[in-house]
Each structure stands twice: as structure tokens, then as C-alpha cells.
Symmetry: C2
């Protein structure tokens, strides 16, 4: 479960909550603009949103982590260079095209940075670029430069909600999380989970704070926090070429305890990571796996990932079917392949708090079966309905609740633990990724 336990009855209720949750920390402004353009590779009209997140004054205190995909997007290549810059003044984000392995991609990204910098009276190295969208297409640089003055003119303090909306592609709803600590605040936004728009690849996360934390401390913290938040989720096991998490401090609130800050940052990032899963492609159930008493932290996390990535178990969850044989299969596959010496005789498994496996054998009966079905149904975000045209789409554009399918895996053989979040595998996922032509 996230740190909250929210329920929403309507999109309007969710939007009101987002607007409040998104109150910007001191020292930041955001602006967006949406415009039409014609892609070179597929000559038909398309729409792009440019989102600008600007600091009132450039800051030396920023941190970022990027995808480990061996084909990083051009903005990721540029972003890694920016980590060496003395200060950062703004982030410029576009959706629709991810600028990955396109001819001249880095040059295109640098031109957008240079023009943004000119308008903000900064240097190009003070601008962090991000792109999300179709892999392989090139950025429409001229159209973007034409639109940029409208973005800088739109810059405003208040809520981060316009930016949270501007970076999305086909996300069902924007994602914002905040925490307050020691007189300051931390506000984060995220888009995506896997590849939400057909042909798209990206998760983008931006976290802003007014709390002063030195650059080196901020960077070490972000690495630790990402490892226990975004690095523990998987919607579909595909790793984006554009994944980026950036953290910027305006430094306007000083004297905040660093441990308290890191705890608050962890809460914001874990809640955002869970939001990303809950709004993942076709996700109708969030699956939360807690692996305990594992020999190593790596085994704990990898075993959790193996469970939330096992397609047959994901399908069973989608059907509210407590097919625990598939769960045991997934554990046995991972341990057999990656930790073959593990003694599994001590394994205890629960689903929804109900013991289903111990002492080397299943512990099942018809009453437990009914309780397991009830647990799965209680965690369902919405019921699937077959549309007339055969294309399955989600009937909601807000998260009705924050409940999960709760799985506990006690290996009984060591000190390590991990919590991993994933989603089920549904007709809505296949429709989003197979039924539409790119």
C-alpha cells in the first residue's frame, strides 16, 4: 500500500486532490504549450506538448538517474553530460517523440536546449532536456523552437498540475505526490509505466523541493531512494530507452534534518512509483510482493520481479483466479535458474494474508479458495467489459482506490527483504499495444 489509503469516486474529486497535492515548492514555475506538427517519418498531423519547469535562480543542487538501456535516448546522453554542469536552471520536456537512435538526435536536443536557454537568459548547459514518445523518429526542431516563446510566457507559480498533465502521453490521469518536512516541501510528478502510448517508451519523473540539500548529498540520496522505489516496479518487464528521474532543489528552506528529508523523499518516490503501476498499461490489479528472510537483497528483489513478471500468474490475477500453482511455478523457475542451492522446504506463501503453501506442499481447501477470490476481487480497479469493436479500454480516468493483491513470500533462510510492485496482464494491455497501428 502507498503511504496514503485514498479512494476517489470521480475524476473531479481526483483532480481537486491533484491540484492541492501539486502546490509548487518556493522557487519554481511551470508552463506548457501544445502545438501541431508534421513528423518527417509519417507525414500526417501530430500534436506535441512542450513542458518547462524553471527555477527562479539556477541551482547547483540537482541530481538525476537515467535508464540502463544500452540504447539511451539522445536527451539521456545529453542529460548525463549535464550532471557535470555547475548549475541547472530549467528542464524542457516534450512528449510524442522520444528522440532515440534517430539520425542527428543529440544535435536536435542541444538546439532545443540552446533556444530555451536564450529565452531564459541562461547557458545551454543549464537546461536539462527530456523526450518521450515514438522510438526512432526525429524531433521537429523548427516547430519546437517556434513554440518555445509561448512556453516561457506561460511560466507561473502555483501548482505543478499543468506540468504533470503536459508530460503525459496516453496515461489515464496525471500523477503527483508531495511531502512536507521542516517547513519545506517535496513535490514529484511522473508519467508512464512501460510504454503507454503505442510505440512509446518512457517513464519520466521530476521531483522539486525548496529544501536546501547540498548537491553531493542529494545525488547519493536519489540513488538510494530510486533503488527502493522506481527500481522495484515492473508493469511489463520492458525497460524504456528514456527513463529519467530528476531531483531539483531551489534551496530556499534551510536547516532541515537530512534524514527526515530522505525519509520524505522516499515516501514521495514510493507513492509515485505505485501510482505509475496503478496507471500502468491495462493494469486492473496492482500486485504487491513482499519477499522476506531471503539470503541476499538481490535474490529478494529479483524473486519479487520474477513473480510480478510471470505472464500466466498475471493473467490469473486479471481473471480474479487464485491459481496459486502458477505462483509456485514462478518461484520455482527463478530459484531453479538463479539460486539453485536455496532450501525451499521452509518456504511459506500467503496471498491476501491466507496461507497457501508451507512444508513443501500446498495448503488449500474450498473455503480458502473463496477467500482468495474475494481478496482478488477487492483489489480490482475496474471490471473488464468487451466493447463492440473488440478494442478493450479502461472505463475510468482516475484511481478509484489504492488496494493491492498482497503476496508474502517468506523464504526462511536469510536476513534480506524487498517489496516489489507489478500489475496483471489483461485484454486492455493487449488492445493498447496490438490493436492500434502506430
Amino acid at each position: 500500500m502507498p503511504s496514503t489509503n485514498l479512494t476517489f469516486a470521480s475524476r473531479a474529486a481526483h483532480r481537486a486532490w491533484l491540484a492541492a497535492e501539486g502546490a509548487l515548492p518556493a522557487g519554481f514555475r511551470v508552463g506548457t504549450v501544445r502545438f501541431d506538427f508534421i513528423p518527417r517519418e509519417a507525414p500526417k498531423p501530430a500534436k506535441m506538448t512542450l513542458t518547462l519547469i524553471a527555477l527562479d535562480r539556477p541551482t547547483p543542487d540537482f541530481a538525476a538517474v537515467f535508464t540502463r538501456n544500452a540504447f539511451p535516448g539522445a536527451p539521456v546522453i545529453v542529460g548525463r553530460q549535464r550532471l557535470g554542469a555547475a548549475s541547472l536552471g530549467a528542464i524542457i520536456v516534450n512528449n510524442k517523440i522520444s528522440n532515440v537512435c534517430a539520425p542527428g538526435g543529440v544535435e536536435a536536443s542541444e538546439r532545443v536546449c540552446a533556444e530555451t536557454a536564450r529565452l531564459l537568459q541562461l547557458g545551454a548547459s543549464q537546461i536539462l532536456p527530456s523526450s518521450t514518445g515514438v522510438i526512432g523518429w526525429g524531433l521537429p526542431v523548427e516547430a519546437m523552437i517556434t513554440a518555445l516563446p509561448s512556453v516561457t510566457a506561460a511560466l507561473a507559480p502555483g501548482s505543478i498540475l499543468p506540468a504533470a498533465e503536459g508530460i503525459v502521453t496516453t496515461d489515464l490521469y496525471p500523477k503527483i505526490r508531495r511531502a512536507t518536512v521542516g517547513g519545506g516541501s517535496i513535490v514529484g510528478i511522473a508519467k508512464g509505466a512501460g510504454m503507454i502510448e503505442p510505440n512509446m517508451a518512457t517513464m519520466l519523473v521530476y521531483v522539486l523541493t525548496d529544501i536546501a540539500i547540498p548537491r553531493a548529498t542529494l545525488r547519493a540520496m536519489l540513488t538510494r531512494v530510486v533503488n527502493t522505489s522506481f527500481n522495484t516496479i515492473s508493469v511489463d518487464s520492458d525497460t524504456s530507452t528514456s527513463d529519467t528521474v530528476a531531483l531539483l532543489s531551489s534551496g530556499q528552506v534551510s536547516g532541515v534534518d537530512q534524514a527526515a528529508f530522505e525519509q520524505a523523499l522516499t515516501t514521495v518516490c514510493r507513492d509515485l512509483a505505485e501510482d505509475v503501476v496503478r496507471n500502468g498499461e491495462g493494469v486492473r490489479h496492482v500486485i504487491r510482493v513482499s519477499v522476506q528472510r531471503a539470503a541476499t537483497a538481490e535474490l529478494a528483489r529479483d524473486l519479487g520481479k520474477a513473480i510480478v513478471n510471470a505472464p500466466l500468474f498475471k493473467c490469473a490475477v486479471a481473471g480474479n483466479d487464485p491459481n496459486v500453482g502458477r505462483l509456485v511455478q514462478a518461484i520455482g523457475k527463478h530459484v531453479g535458474a538463479h539460486a539453485p542451492g536455496t532450501d525451499l522446504s521452509k518456504l511459506k506463501l500467503t496471498l491476501g494474508g491466507i496461507e497457501i503453501f508451507s512444508g513443501g506442499v500446498f495448503q488449500l481447501n474450498p473455503d480458502k479458495e473463496k477467500a482468495l477470490v474475494a481478496h482478488l476481487k477487492g483489489a480490482e480497479l475496474y471490471a473488464s467489459a468487451t466493447p463492440k469493436d473488440g478494442v478493450f479500454t479502461a472505463p475510468i480516468d482516475y484511481p478509484p482506490h489504492e488496494r493491492c493483491v498482497e503476496i508474502n513470500v517468506d523464504l526462511g533462510s536469510g536476513p534480506a527483504a524487498a517489496i516489489v510492485l507489478g500489475g496483471d496482464l489483461t485484454h486492455e494491455y493487449v488492445s493498447e499495444n496490438a490493436d492500434y497501428r502506430s
Copy 2:
């Protein structure tokens, strides 16, 4: 492509081919029986088929390889012990229940072997048991023992087709492949691909030959051949708890060149492996990835597996969508995580023989896009159609052709190569595994 390039216009044409392909080698008989029973765990009527494959005389020359899942089924545990027996006389196979982690599973499997042995006037250690079906349920031993005399009475030479039909669960059609070499023959049958019946887990393969090959040679050969056939396929990345490949020689044809035999065995196993994929859960396109000039054989095979297991690319193939960005994502994910030092600047990618990536960037244009779509459509086994009840099922029960989606990955950086086969990810897969309750 398999060693054949068959097309079938109807189920009748396919059945006629199967009956001929299934001519039993000298020294073998097969029999089956189907009966009703009531499972303990879900007290409603179910059906089971018992299949017996018997040698006219027990043979010392047999080999078997089993699943590496850390929760092997009871028949796999018993089967590993059988490898130490002096000779083998028969294989007894049941479907419907896989006998995995059920209380008393090994004892149940041994009782079925003992009764089969009594009827055949053999010892229990001369019987290899196999089970496929629901994970977690226990075998209905009494009902099986009651049915066994009917199986032994049904034993007949001729075609292996009854056994190929007897071991299936919800496979769309039986799978048989043969090769002749030096006056003898090799005939193999297979069931499954991933978990074909809801709640089921298994791939079972039995290969029979009348060609005399000594036990130690046979076992070494089987390990080599399985590594380049069944171990290079993946329908859904889930590893069964029951996977078994068994090879039995009746020894009636001697003097056959061992290298020629191994080549013929390789052809039979590769063709059967491809049949398993083609009849895999919801598979509408077989995807064949040839990885070339890789640094190591492990990287070549694992990279091929990463491509055929990447859900977003699998969905794109299902939609006849040449979304090559998702293909590059899958390669980048695997190399970034498992071979981060690899120089990808020499990567050349083709799809259907059409170059799509080289020199570090995509090589795309609208004409190529049309040709790529045509290649994908040409490899489609059947078109998906939305049924009124929302449950997608295959409209065919025979393989109309043997064409594949052909992907070539030239890493340009080493001596190793591998060919990996997989399938697309479709509404039919989700329907089979989520829409039916177990």
C-alpha cells in the same frame, strides 16, 4: 523455418499427414484410455486420459532430461531416479493433473508405476511416469489403477498418433515428427507450450527409435540436442514444473552411423520444438530470431530469448505492426543489463530480410514500412476475430503453414550464434489464461 515447409488446407489433410508421420519404429506399441473421475480438491466431474508407450522388450538404452524448476513434479522426482535403473520397459502418462507439490505425490506416482509394471510383467523401476495438468492437485490413484487394464489391452503397433492425442490437454492439434536414417527411424511426439490448459503446466516430449545407440551415447546426445532445440524456444517465459523429454531405443536396427543419427535426432527435436511454439498458447505468429556474430553462445541465446519474451514487441507483432523501436528497446535492455561492455555500433538488424537498423541509427522509410507489414501479415497463422462473449479462441485446429516472422540480429562482434523461436502476445493468450476460471 522447420526442416519441412508444409501447408495444410484442412484438419483432415493435417490428420492424414500425422498418421503417416507417426509410423512407429520397430519394437514399440502404444495404447490410451479416457475415463471420468472426481478430483479431491474440486469435487466436480473431470476427465483424464492415460497413455502407455511400451517396448516389446525392456531397453537399457534410454535417456531423459527434466525441468530445472526448483519445484519439480513428483513424476520428475521419480523419473530422475529411473535414470539409474538397468532398463526401461514403458512410459505411463496422464493428463489433467500434474502431481506437483501435492501431499503424497511421489507415493501416488510410484503406485501407478507398480500397477502398470504388474500388468506388463515388469518391475516398477522399469516404468517412467509422467503427469501434466493442474499444479497442486493430487492424482486420483484408485481411478487410474481401475483404468490401467484397459490401457494395456489397447496396446498396438502401427502409428504413434493415439499417444500424441492422448497426452494433450487443450493443444489445438497433436504434434508428431519423424526422420529415417540408415534403415531405422526416429519418431517424436510433443504436447504443450507453456501452460496450454488453464492451470496446466507442462511440455512433454517422447522420442522413440529402433536404431541401436548405447545408453551413454544416447544421453550425451540428448543433452546436446535439447540445448539447440527445446531449450531455444519460449512461448511465454514461464518454466513448467513438469517439462520432460525422454528418448527410448528399441535397439532393433544396428550399424547406423552415430553422427547421422544425431543429425536426424536434431531435426526431429527442432521440428517438434517449432511445432510446440506454432501451437503455443494464443500464438498467431511464430517469431524466429537468428543472432549472429555474438561474443558468446550464452549472449546469442539469451538475447534471442529477450527479444521473443519482450511483451511490447510481441504485441506489435500480433497487430502486424512493424514497431521496430520496441525491438531495439528489447536488445538495449538485455545488453544494458547483462553485457554492458558490448559495442553496439556494429549492430545490423533485419526484419523479413529488410534492413531496419545499422550504424547506430534506424534505417526506415515509408516503402520499407509497407514491406515490413506485408512480411508480418504473410507469417500470420490466422486473423483474430472478436467473439460476442469476449473470449477469444483460435478458429483453426491445424497449422495452415510454417512461415515465421524472420529477425536477424548481427552483433558484428564475435564468433557465436543462436536461433531462438517464440510467439506473439495476443487476446487469445489472455483469454486462455484469464477468461476461464480454473
